[in-house]
Symmetry: C2
Subunit: 201 residues, 2 copies
């Protein structure tokens, strides 16, 4: 970094480059863009950031981000209380909600089982999930973790637990993405799409 | 956008997605990352953004961003006052300073001539440049605008002006990037690198 760089820009660039997917160059581009833009934009962004952590809490029931506790999904009585969709992170709730495919409740695990990284089942909200399942007479648990090694491990672990409680467990289908091309599918995805092939009647 | 999305996140995502190169998905990823990170990060970022426009001014001499006016480059007497490097935007000063190739003064044009977009020579700081050239006994003006249509137009315009003042004008070399590959060079770059070929003695 050049010693002549104005400090205020430099500090902003350093902060921006801590964000995921933002390298030094992008961070610098963002900082200069904000400088070139009307000051009201920087002010609005500053206000939103300053109040973010006070405005947003975790739902004490499902663990998703919310402004009210419990969250609007957990208090919505038109939603199916007997089906729980288990996700890794709070932001996954948003993604699934946008698909409008699911009308039950959510449960945020807060991570995936990864013993090599020191993340064990006790570090996740699995105890609370079991409690919710028993208290709410849940019929089906849909596992929506990513199809990765950690996602698979966590799914198998939860499947075993839920079976002991005699609860139906399912997992999101894995296979070729819509609009995808066989040519660009990796071997594992192709293998999964074969094993999970759907009969055409 | 889902109506259940917490508003504070939503507002932050909207603001982030106004930044260059940040789409709706990246904006959402950034917002959730900040929520997942310690609140002190969001606070620091908020503070930097809130004070940015007050802390950073334009140098009244060269037009670059600075915390003091005139900027440290314009007041540095160890730098060559008789050579001016002309750039399009204030952030270009940073990029050239980091290369440590240039030890003269800068001049920020504030844009490039683009009649179709309604940007004419009078919209740029060309008058101030001419004044500086005359007042400071400038020997050489180095044009460092990008090798684009607008950059070329602006360079030709300035070349003509400077010639009338009997001042040496040069432009940054255009050609193959270091580490680049002929195979990936576009025709125009290749053609420029031929025309600008350097004799090996």
């Amino acid at each position: 970094m050049n010693i002549r760089e104005p400090n205020a820009i430099d500090r902003l660039v350093t902060l921006f480059s801590k964000l995921p997917g933002i390298g030094k160059k992008s961070a610098s581009r963002l900082a200069y863009h904000i400088l070139d833009t009307d000051a009201s934009y920087a002010r609005s962004l500053a206000e939103q950031l300053a109040s973010l952590h006070e405005a947003i809490k975790r739902c004490s029931v499902c663990g998703s981000f919310t402004e009210t506790d419990p969250c609007p999904i957990c208090t919505d009585m038109t939603r199916d209380v007997h089906t729980i969709c288990v996700v890794e992170r709070a932001q996954d709730v948003r993604i699934i909600e946008e698909s409008r495919e699911f009308n039950g409740r959510f449960h945020v695990l807060g991570g995936l089982i990864a013993p090599l990284e020191g993340i064990h089942p006790s570090d996740l909200t699995i105890g609370q999930l079991l409690l919710r399942v028993k208290q709410n007479d849940v019929h089906e648990v849909i596992l929506a973790m990513n199809p990765t090694v950690e996602g698979d491990t966590t799914a198998l672990y939860l499947q075993k637990l839920m079976r002991e409680e005699d609860i139906e467990v399912s997992r999101l289908a894995s296979g070729l993405p819509v609009g995808g091309d066989l040519e660009y599918a990796d071997r594992l995805t192709l293998s999964r799409s074969f094993r999970g092939r759907v009969r055409m009647e």
